[in-house]
Amino acid sequence: MRSIRAAAIGAVTMSLALAASACGGGSQTGGAAGDSPKTLTYWASNQGASIEVDKKVLQPELDKFEKQTGIKVKLEVVPWSDLLNRILTATTSGQGPDVLNIGNTWSASLQATGALLPWDAKNFDKIGGKDRFVDSALGSTGVQGEDPAAVPLYSMAYALYYNKRIFADAGISKPPATWEELVADGRRIQQKGKQVLGAEGSNVSENIHHVFVFGKQHGADFFTADGKPDFTNDGVVAAVKQYVDLMAKDKAIPAGNAEYAQNQSVSDFAKGKTAMLLWQSASANLKSQGMSEDQYGIAPVPVQSGTPGAGTQVDSMVAGINLAVFKNTHNPDGATKFVKFMTGDEEQKILNKAYTSIPPVGSAQADPAFNTPANAVLKETLARSATALPQVADESQFETTVGTAVKELFADAAAGRAVTTESVKAKLQKAQQQMPTK
């Protein structure tokens, strides 16, 4: 009898404990690290060849920060496949990191959630002022006219990577400067039995980056000035068709690339199967796959005619990573100090060298490491001919719907079905209908 009573008491106690912890679960905010002013949690995006590489690059810098300020930074490197979901979950629950990396194209979408600390003049003053950053990078930090949701950390741009050996074998003396030249060179490369241009046809983000630039070159935008989707205007249709036609009509992109989504096109290029690749800051990636820097050349992405510049001569998006502070942080001062540290000249040089990206901080760009021929192309592109993706709250939906439309068009092209102005327009129409109406 006694043991039964004990069991009953135990059951009741456990139930009460469960009920209590269930109710209490929501109210304990701030996460483990945030409560103490001496610690910060930092979610870094995966910039290096692997998460381990990132930890090796970042940890010494975080130790340095701890020495300077006494604030310990707990680092977590989050893979790209998880990062946005993790941020959304953190936003919903209010329990997240103190400081985090975001893809700069997400800035406006995340800004709309209100989860990130806005960088007004006062906050910018704490990290040395807004004018430390170059304009192109600041253009991808949130909706124009509002306080940025994040500050630029690493900048990247698209460039044309070409295999010197294949070019020499095909008798091509200089990289193509226009799409027409690229297609013509492609025919000579194919005669040598090599593939012409690599692409990630099933990667919706890559598709978006390319059709956005083609859109610019056709003088077209995917969004109207007041932020409404406008995917079916003639310029956009022509732009998307031109990109897909690189496979469908010009046969420059091999049909097999239509299903690529895991950077197989980079591997193909590194292995010498493909002559050209349009990629952002690929050097570190190519090196890790065994392709040394003297084997390939870097040139600006082709344009329709003339040379890269503003307006219809744009040849890259402003790619890059921004650093944001989570509004729910319990240590806003420490978080701001950390942002100041990471965007300081010294750290900018160290980190951007490690990741072969370009510092978005003007004074750090002067370092000779960023003036090598390869980096000079990227720097030049960022300064003169790169434009930020649309800074609208629906950017994330735009990537999904239009990126998927391009993926389906590539699938059509790969299967040998005709890609016409009508079929392109129909797919874009469908994409536009799936955009939020409010």
């Binding site: 269930a22 995340l110 994330s396 999904t400 939020p436």
Partner: protein, 331 residues
């Protein structure tokens, strides 16, 4: 009920409640006796509520809200939309509803085919594995491998095999057997349905095999011997003895396979990524895309609730139909 029976069996006629005799303690004793099991179940019940029902209820509540990126930080401020999300989901003339309907039909077709094939292959293999022969244990173990492998590792291997340029499938079908005129795409376009079905059946049939094999152990051998004496062949034995004996096992097996396949998220997601091809646009990934990728958790929840209702109806009808069928067969 039981007490009456025992009392009658004892052959004594005891009036069940002898009034007046120590009423108080006995009643509390009875309450204790009845109450204790429930009390002991309470922690489990609360846990069940916590991990199972609460998220479901929250999901249902979410489906009535306009929970987009503008409101996810503070759910309370998200405006109520009533049936708005449901209206969008089932408006089959508009693109969102149309896409959902398409995805639903693809999923139903896929699930029926996958379950049928899993069951057929699993049962056939189990029946053939019934007789003892050398190497049976090894084969049985081998058959269970797909079921034991981690889903991601297994499916990513299939992704490699289905690749257009260097995949094993094209190598065999095109390069060696010359069955196709040119290498086919399996991960994009219409063939993706076949690829998805192949992986799903490959992954699912060992479970059917396992369950049917367990069910077969309970069929007495004498039945087969008697049938053989009466001149029944292998096919007749299967039809008249094996299948009827497996009836209750199959009832559960098919239901479970159906629910698992219908809800399967991992296989299509690992095969195709976040934007599945039209031909293989399963509803679980579709809903994921509607909520996580396009940041509209209200509509995503409404779609989930609709799927839940559909599965509830299917399960209910299935159980009612099969149970009645069995009662009729038993009678």
């Amino acid at each position: 009920m039981t007490t009456t029976v025992t009392a009658a069996a004892d052959g004594r006629t005891v009036s069940k409640s002898s009034p007046g005799a120590a009423r108080g303690p006995r009643r509390t004793g009875r309450i204790q006796r009845i109450g204790l099991p429930y009390l002991l179940l309470l922690p489990a019940l609360l846990l069940e509520l916590l991990v199972h029902l609460v998220p479901m209820v929250i999901g249902i509540v979410m489906s009535f809200k306009e929970l987009t990126q503008f409101y996810i930080r503070d759910w309370g401020t998200a405006p109520w939309t009533g049936l708005g999300n449901y209206r969008v989901s089932v408006d089959f003339d508009a693109p969102v509803g149309d896409a959902l309907l398409h995805s639903f039909l693809v999923t139903v077709g896929f699930t029926l085919l996958s379950v049928a094939l899993c069951w057929l292959i699993g049962t056939t293999a189990a029946v053939y594995m019934q007789d003892t022969f050398r190497g049976r244990g090894l084969l049985r173990a081998l058959f269970l491998v797909p079921y034991a492998l981690p889903v991601y590792a297994a499916v990513i291997t299939w992704v490699f095999m289905f690749q257009h340029d260097n995949g094993l499938v094209n190598h065999v079908l095109h390069d060696q057997l010359h069955l196709t005129g040119k290498p086919s795409f399996w991960l994009i376009g219409d063939n993706s349905f076949v690829a998805l079905l192949t992986v799903s059946v490959w992954k699912g049939w060992p479970f059917a095999f396992l369950i049917v094999m367990a069910g077969l152990q309970h069929i007495p051998r004498e039945l087969y011997e008697a049938a053989a004496l009466d001149g029944a062949g292998m096919w007749q034995q299967i039809r008249r003895i094996t299948l009827p004996s497996l009836r209750s096992v199959n009832q559960v097996l098919i239901l479970v396979l159906f629910l698992w396949t219908f809800n399967d998220f991992n296989t299509p997601y690992v095969l195709f990524g976040r934007a599945a091809p039209q031909a293989a646009d399963l509803i679980s990934v579709h809903i994921y895309q509607a909520s996580f990728v396009t940041w509209n958790f209200g509509t995503g929840s409404a779609m989930s609730v609709l799927m839940l209702l559909f599965l509830l109806v299917v399960t209910g009808v299935y159980l009612a139909a099969t149970s009645r069928g069995r009662r009729a067969a038993d009678a």
